[in-house]
Amino acid sequence: MHNKSIKEIAKGLRCGDFSSVELTQLFLSRIKQHAQLNCYVTVTEELALKAARQADAKIAQGDTSLLTGIPIAQKDIFCTQGVKTSCGSKMLDNFIAPYNATVVEKLNAAGAVMLGKLNMDEFAMGSSNETSYYGPVKNPWHTNSVPGGSSGGSSAAVAARLSVCATGTDTGGSIRQPAAHCGITGLKPTYGRVSRFGMIAYASSLDQGGPMARSAEDTAILLQAMSGFDPKDSTSLDLPVPDYSAALDKDIKGLKIGLPKEFFGDGLNNDVALVIEKAIEEYKKLGAELKEVSMPNLKLAIPAYYVIAPAECSANLSRFDGVRFGHRCDNPQDLADLYTRSRGEGFGKEVKRRILMGTYALSAGYYDAYYLKAQKIRRLISDDFKKALSEVDVIMGPVAPTTAFGLGEKIDNPIEMYLSDIYTIAINLAGLPAMSLPIGFSEGKPVGLQIIGDYFAEDRLLNIAHQYQMVSDWHRQIPKGFE
């Protein structure tokens, strides 16, 4: 039952093969059974069973929403009314959100059953899920390895069948990289496609929520429910949302795939490169044409990102001051002490590092040299993509230079951790949609393929991923012990 796709479950619920309550109970018991993976920060058992009972009643009355009664889980960055929303931080360990994020409202309205809140890197800052106040998540394929981050709880939970699908957020690769490391499918939508209202802000000009699931088909269904204009988000774009599932079956004969030579140079693990080459060969068999493209400014993406993201984070995280919500230190001597100690006690080391970096970059005399310069570099990177995407339909390449690395392997070397984001970060700077899909293994660990498309081409990306999944079964592989 827990290996079924959303469509299969929807059918099973309507044929009376099983109820949403039974399905929800199964997932709740699997979550308990595999608690050592540390995927969930909060399990909302009672709320889930209540929602499942309501879903069963709705289905009995003829409800047709595909997500009705489907167990899902929310990354703990999305505010959930009445439920702890920690963002992976001690700062928000006591924070019961007073309202729902728009994404949560939309998924509730679609009838989905929320199982709980998923572990993540603190305030989404990290690539390994090791910066979480609640401890690291383990990769179900290799429990000594990281699941990726920052949406590591989401990717591990979907891979281990502890949820049918999950939400994630992606500021520099936080959906795609964990999806790749855990062998699942994840999509970062175009900036502005999915509402950021109620999604705790890290770097507002880059943050974007998106779906994480086992297949492109499930991803399309979840994205459909998450997308759309939201007047509560001033950066949300008022454009119609296409039918993502309708586009899946289109033939991809004649598809022009761009391969940036900068994506396949030094730094990419040989084994990972071979797996990617094989997947691209498969696309050739499906009728695609290959073309080399160039991203001359790609190497500048990491320095530009590590100015822009920390600068925006230092501003966004100034709201955590120990006054209105969140952690407050004991016995503050004065107001400055209240701010300084509450923040000092509430934030972990990686968050502090980025606040310091951002504060420095925005401090008097440095703004032009860092933030403004980085925004100009951002334009150059975006122009590189525009040029490439005028020559080809999509760009393909690796998601990460290696498969999932070992727990503890990079945590003491932040720069090395930052460099591992090289293939994902540039896409956030440009604001483009991109996805990761499972295409094989290297030494028992999953490898992901990244597909990058033009603005609002999510339907095309899903179509291209789905066509591959029709002729491969990598997305159906189950980690040992989680069958």
Binding site: I302, S318, V323, Q333, R353, L356, I415, Y418
Partner: protein, 95 residues
């Protein structure tokens, strides 16, 4: 660019961020390494390039000036560390 321990203390003060004394050296080292990484940006000519703040260069959308929210004060203050009579309490600022 090398940041010293004093630089780190000054930045932490600007951010009103408490940092552990024993971590200061490692922050100085990490931030210096990050600044080294950023040096590459300076080597690229960006003359005449417009800074990019929004991927679609969208301007700030405005809405009609109507009241759309209801008063949620009690609800929001339920999760506050310290309140009294609808006010958030902080240590005395003015003697």
């Amino acid at each position: 660019m090398v940041l010293t321990a004093d630089d780190v203390k000054k930045i932490a003060y600007l951010a009103r961020l408490g940092i552990d004394h024993q971590d200061i050296e490692s922050y100085a080292r990490d931030l210096s390494n990050m600044l080294d990484l950023m040096k590459q940006m300076g080597e690229t000519d960006t003359g005449g390039v417009l800074p990019m703040a929004h991927p679609m260069d969208q301007i700030q959308r405005l809405r009609v000036d109507d009241v759309t929210e209801t008063n949620n004060r009690d609800n929001f203050q339920k999760i506050a560390p310290l309140v009294e009579d609808g006010l958030y309490l902080v240590p005395k600022v003015i003697e």
